[in-house]
Symmetry: C2
Amino acid sequence: MLCDLLYIYFMNETFVSNWKSQVKKGTLTFIILNILKENEYYGYELIEQIRKHTEIEIAEGTLYPLMNRLKTENLVDSKWVEQETGIPRKYYCLTEMGTKTLVQMNEYWKNLENAIQKIIK
Amino acid sequence: MLCDLLYIYFMNETFVSNWKSQVKKGTLTFIILNILKENEYYGYELIEQIRKHTEIEIAEGTLYPLMNRLKTENLVDSKWVEQETGIPRKYYCLTEMGTKTLVQMNEYWKNLENAIQKIIK
DNA sequence: CAAATCACATAGCAATACAATGTACTTTGT
DNA sequence: ACAAAGTACATTGTATTGCTATGTGATTTG
């Protein structure tokens, strides 16, 4: 009896936490491009910004490869900036293509949001 | 010049369409559970329901494996229903655990939605 | 002076949407 | 009457991507 409850609880926990990770998968790129729309940020700072804005925790092992992908895709550009003290920081900014892509993403997101809201209602 | 434009256009197209697929990745389970909350549906019908509600196209090769996963996870149950004519249909319904999971998903979704709306604003 | 934080990076794993392909029955168009 | 399209299920293999684990090295804090 207790066993059943624990089973259901843990199955549920792992499923939900896995689902959260899956939802991130799509939205993360979208969130990052939106944040970069306003300002240039370096990697570590981006993680903090996202935590502050969305309460979503992103692992560094997630962000750095993602930023490299975005650079390969020509959606962001990056430049090293030397610091007076400490390790130089790599700042990212949106490219023209990144901006255009973001517009399309925003449209799709609005549609999705509306659709889901209708279903949940 | 034209070459550049075409390059950017297609890069952008494939990136965006790929991104859409990534966004689906998380939301699809969520959408399906929400739809099953109201009614029992069979697979093919679910695809139509989703298309009607969200204008999102789902491939059959996406849906059927997904439903099997959801059944393995004990979020949905299924039963075969014979038809007077044609192939029997497999109807899906939410389990108790599916309902509970859906509640948690709804909460997470609301948070995410709010967070993104703040960022986009 | 050790621990925590800052700041970058990579390799391997797991999850999942899709394309392609297959089966089999029914309806529709000509 | 028969081909085409639609209904309804299913599987295999691929690509993408977030995460864990791990590593480097500098700086700040207790």
